[in-house]
Symmetry: C2
Subunit: 338 residues, 2 copies
DNA sequence: TTGTAAGCGTTATCAC
DNA sequence: GTGATAACGCTTACAA
């Protein structure tokens, strides 16, 4: 023990009477080691409380034990769910989770990402939507030798590099559910442009309508931006229509809840006068009144798997699932139209 | 340039015709360097696109360029706000943000924290409440030589190691506001035990009542756990009272919104029949109807300053503010009692 | 199965 | 001011 500091691999080697390489083999669980040597060294490691220096390993191995989540200021609940999933994925390993926001509208966006990757050299990165659909960023990962997994709503890459939900089918099911209840005038509040998920959700909406032989009334399709306020605004427009809808599908929960507020202000009862369906299944959806019927989005599962894909071999990553089904959660905001 | 890989300090030294130590001096902005040498080296660094290897620096300097936020699953919005603040604080620096959750109820809690600190060796950690009031964890930071800043609602440490809000005064002001409106039967929904902030908020409540010469009716003080559901449950009890309150102060927004839902279910109008005040000023508080009068909690500012304290010298940290005033935000959930 | 020597890319020491 | 040389703690050849 070199006096003050923490014990190093040299201290362990000396105390165990072996070479540092042997200790290294024990740390790395090398298979070619006699059981007796291993036990002896493990005993010394325990006694000394030796913890391998990750920075030194990072230097020698040329890879940092860090998984980074790269995002562009998404919804708080989404971000926290992703973090939770990644934490589950790296639990029990040496990896740590780093979180790094970027601003896509910044002209220096790409160079900022590059600077981050070159500085921190994370072992792998999870790309959150909408950054996940940015091919330039993916190219940057390849160029810097950073492993990556893209989170999204379609299979935008090979299985080893994607975790995806099936938003299109899920929304189709949700809207079909509304149609099954007897709704015919169904409105859609869309998500922001530049994201993939709103496109998929819209496609699912249109498919459900088409399957039921219903036309999509352009007046019942309102833009939105995944924010509460945009949900309020969209619903206000819809309620002001000469023939307002009997049901609204909002492309996410926040807008759905915005729509609920707008209805309440307008004196329109939910679900008696209008049914509402959201997407995400955030905690909030069961906290509003009436509780919100919504599509459960398995973000935590997706993020956990993303982390596992990053830590394992390329082959192993390809074996892990890339598609995570979203399912309709029926609550209190949907009934048959009056 | 050693063939494939990225340029190293050696490549820069060779290309500039100086020693690696001189390059190191340039990187570290050493003052004792001739201007001509500095410019020459900086030019080469730019030309080669040299980025210092943080892992190597971490090994040599024995400190990792990472700030870690350590928490025990707090509210999503709170966590995201803290992250945002820390990101603001480290913006423009080489530091990265790592996020690490722990479970205080796990018997291995302390050893898990120790393992994290010894493995990742973050340069500094921001301790989020309620972990911030755990002296054992603080001791662990000292022992492992990890710089730390505690986030909380009281000055639980020296200025260099604390950022705090003034919950007590803020709540006193908020409740005084209710009293000023004419309320006399004011209920309190408390936060969970084991946290400091609920104690402070309760103290502020009691001080306001005492200052106004009002007695605190024990029947109007209900336990809560900072969750939506606990807010619902507490409000249900309050509304069932023979003499229900005319106003409720909930110790956080989530419970306040739970209380709002409970009132609505019970047919009690807000604010006509009952006024409600929350604490936090989460985005949600302006998204409900009526909008929630609440206390703004300057988490982002606190977290930004925490990061700055960690990165600067101990002295500089002590100079930075440790107290961040919370202020009442008047919205639509408070009126004079009927 | 185990050990030796040479890096990994940077900074600290101490000369010049 | 600047430069050899030795750390920092670990891993990967390559031997033995």
């Amino acid at each position: 023990m070199n006096g003050a500091g923490k014990p190093t691999i040299n201290d362990v080697a000396a105390a165990a009477g072996v070479s540092k390489k042997t200790v290294s083999r024990v740390i790395n669980k090398s298979p070619l080691l006699s059981a007796s040597t291993r036990e002896k060294v493990e005993g010394v490691i325990r006694d000394l409380g030796f913890v391998p220096n990750l920075q030194a390993r990072a230097l020698a191995l040329r890879r940092n034990f860090i998984i980074a989540a790269i995002h562009d200021n998404p919804n708080a609940q989404f971000l926290v769910n992703v973090q939770q999933g990644i934490q589950q994925g790296i639990a029990g390993s040496e990896f740590g989770l780093m979180v790094q926001p970027f601003d896509r509208s910044d002209p220096a966006f790409e160079s900022e990402v590059r600077a981050f990757l070159e500085r921190q050299r994370p072992f792998g990165v999870v790309l959150l939507p909408p950054i996940s659909s940015d091919e330039a960023i993916v190219a940057l990962c390849r160029e810097t030798g950073t492993r990556y997994v893209r989170m999204g709503s379609i299979k935008m890459d090979e299985a080893a590099h994607v975790v995806s939900s099936n938003d299109r089918e899920a929304v189709r099911d949700a809207v079909t559910h509304l149609i099954g209840k007897g709704h015919r005038r169904i409105a859609l509040i869309e998500g922001p442009e530049g994201f993939t998920s709103p496109q998929e959700r819209r496609a699912g909406f249109e498919e459900a309508m088409a399957q039921a032989g219903l036309a999509v009334d352009p007046a019942l399709v309102r833009p939105g931006s995944y924010t509460f306020e945009s949900g309020v605004a969209a619903a206000e427009c819809l309620l002001a229509l000469a023939a307002p809808p009997t049901a609204i599908f909002a492309s996410n929960d926040e807008m759905a809840i915005g729509a609920m507020i707008a209805c309440r202000r307008a004196g329109v009862r939910i679900p008696e006068d209008i049914s509402i369906v959201g997407f995400d299944d955030t905690p909030l959806s069961s906290h509003v009144w009436p509780t919100l019927t919504t599509v459960h989005w398995p973000i935590v599962d997706m993020a956990r798997t993303a982390a596992q894909k990053l830590m394992g071999s390329e082959d192993a990553a390809g074996e892990l699932p890339w598609m995570f089904p979203s399912t309709l959660v029926e609550r209190g905001s949907v009934v048959a139209p009056a």
